[in-house]
């Protein structure tokens, strides 16, 4: 039995025919749409490398059936920059050495964008670490990652202050 689903991926509508309901959102992104920025680490929801935003919320795409997400709006690492202009979180990861090998980085960045959007961590490093605990980094770049998230958060606070001044 075939399933026709329609997704918006990085702002572009994509119609996909699935001949098998077992396809995860992660495998659909990587194998069907060739968006290989989203990484397959553990494939069991334990490492966070596959993190994407679905309808604005960060989830593990490896534990999501594609067919169940018919109609969803998906943002992956390929969709966060504007042309050559990096997303502020991408720029902050570079500025703070928030990675070494880079494999976990797309998931880390998508998770950080999700965390900042959730608005629960603020400028508290402990809350940032807790909020990022679903993303493992084998190279141990955690301190740089925390600094990067705090830096972007600080920039948002200052931008808000300028707007309201």
């Amino acid at each position: 039995m075939n399933f026709s689903i329609s997704l918006t991926v990085n702002g572009v509508r994509r119609d996909v025919e699935l001949e098998d309901p077992r396809v995860t959102l992660l495998d659909l992104l990587r194998e069907r749409l060739h968006l290989t920025g989203t990484k397959k680490g553990c494939d069991r929801g334990q490492c966070g490398a596959c993190t994407v935003l679905v309808d604005g919320r960060r989830i593990n795409s490896c534990l999501a059936l594609a067919v169940s997400h018919d109609g969803a709006d998906i943002l992956t690492i390929e969709g966060v920059a504007r042309g050559d202009q990096l997303h502020p979180v991408q720029a902050a990861f570079i500025a703070h050495d928030g990675f070494q090998c880079g494999f976990c980085t797309p998931g880390q960045i998508m998770s950080a964008i999700g965390l900042i959007g959730e608005g629960q961590a603020g400028d508290d490093p402990e809350r940032v670490r807790e909020g990022m605990s679903g993303n493992l980094c084998r190279c141990g770049a955690y301190s740089g990652i925390t600094d990067a998230v705090l830096d972007v958060q600080q920039g948002l606070v200052e931008a808000d202050r300028r707007r309201s001044a």
């Binding site: 309901p21 077992r22 069991r44 929801g45 989830i59 534990l63 999501a64 169940s68 605990s133």
Partner: protein, 356 residues
């Protein structure tokens, strides 16, 4: 993963009819189910996707002072609902201590109630497991069982129930609303999960086709909001299942405990309400001696199922700590590390007391 039929009904009646067939399973977010299917632990013939069923994603305040939570409400949305978190702080703390932010964004209230044990032998299909394959035996019984049950277990199964969320739910007398082939009924969450006995494969009171549509907390559940905590000991600070967890809710009037609610997680095959321990606290002063007596009462029937005798003392200590922190008052803000026993007792500064 074995292949399966996929159906996505739009009415509850259609969902029940589709799921009542042998080999069918409901799919909500799938954060537990897909993991089990990838490992071949669960092999459904049909998935009945309930994510598009209407009306199951609302949090409703009831006229009688209670609250009704639709089964499809996401764990993160419930925990961050300001009124819910203020009225039921231990439930919010339990939710935020579970899994990761990504999983909490996806996982549903109904799914959390029905999540499966994390026993390694249940997950490893090369091991004998009576829960996965009735009559096969239990490799955990003489295996790596440091983290297994000390209450309510049987020779057939020593696995623990993994939920954080369910622990304060049973303490607060939560009720599950269930739609099934014979109509609607209600089951207390405390009675939803069964002890293993000789049939560990029968984990809940649900019949084929039964769908949990909502969860309700009664009006008196919010009377514990000023003195409520959930604490959880883990092998790492975040993103880990409980070795032992405990919730304590107190109603204190003029320095005397009028009512107490206590439950434990990680120690039994189901979220474990400690009724006898609660009774020892009614009318008592909130003192360390009273808390220790309650903790001893809660674990009075405990016995190790293997290399896990330490959990009996650990559970008592974490219960005393939960009572101590609850008596000090619910923190004004959710602690930075929800449910961490390493948080300070201060209400105004719920930060950690060790240098990170």
């Amino acid at each position: 993963m074995k292949t399966f039929d996929y159906v996505r009904p739009t009415t509850i009646a259609d969902a029940i009819a589709a799921a009542a067939e042998p080999g069918a399973a409901y799919l909500a977010s799938g954060t537990n189910l897909l993991d089990l299917m990838k490992g071949g632990v669960t092999r459904p013939n049909r998935l009945v996707d309930v994510t598009r069923l209407p009306g199951l994603d609302r949090i409703e305040r009831l006229a009688d002072g209670g609250i009704r939570i639709g089964a499809l409400v996401r764990n993160a949305d419930l925990a961050h609902d300001p009124d819910f978190a203020k009225s039921y702080p231990a439930v919010a703390e339990a939710l935020l201590s579970g899994a990761s932010a990504q999983l909490r964004n996806a996982a549903t209230v109904g799914g959390n109630l029905l999540q499966r044990t994390r026993c390694g032998y249940f997950y490893d299909i090369a091991s004998a497991c009576n829960k996965r394959e009735p009559g096969a035996g239990c490799d955990a019984r003489n295996g790596e069982n440091r983290l297994h049950a000390v209450l309510g277990w049987s020779e057939a199964c020593i696995a623990t129930h993994p939920s954080d969320f369910c622990v304060p739910l049973v303490a607060l007398d939560a009720v599950a609303e269930i739609e099934g082939r014979t109509g609607r009924r209600e089951v207390a969450v405390e009675a939803l999960h069964r002890l293993p006995g000789d049939t560990p494969e029968q984990e809940s009171a649900l019949e084929p086709g039964d769908l949990i549509v909502a969860l309700r907390l009664p009006s008196d559940a919010r009377t514990f909001s000023a003195h409520a905590r959930y604490l959880k000991v883990r092998e790492r600070t975040s993103y880990a299942f409980a070795i032992v967890s405990a919730t304590a809710g107190l109603r204190i009037e003029q320095g005397t405990i009028r009512d107490a609610r206590l439950a434990l997680g990680g120690v039994a095959p189901k979220p474990w309400r400690a009724h006898q321990a609660e009774e020892t606290l009614a009318g008592a002063s909130p003192t360390p001696a009273a808390f220790r007596r309650a903790a001893e009462a809660a674990l009075a029937d405990a016995k190790p199922s293997g290399d896990n005798r330490f959990k009996i003392e650990l559970a008592q200590r974490i219960l005393v700590r939960a009572l101590t922190l609850a008596a000090a008052g619910t923190p004004e803000r959710m602690p930075a590390l929800p449910a961490s026993p390493f948080s300070s007792v201060s209400r105004s500064d719920p930060g950690v007391i060790y240098e990170a």
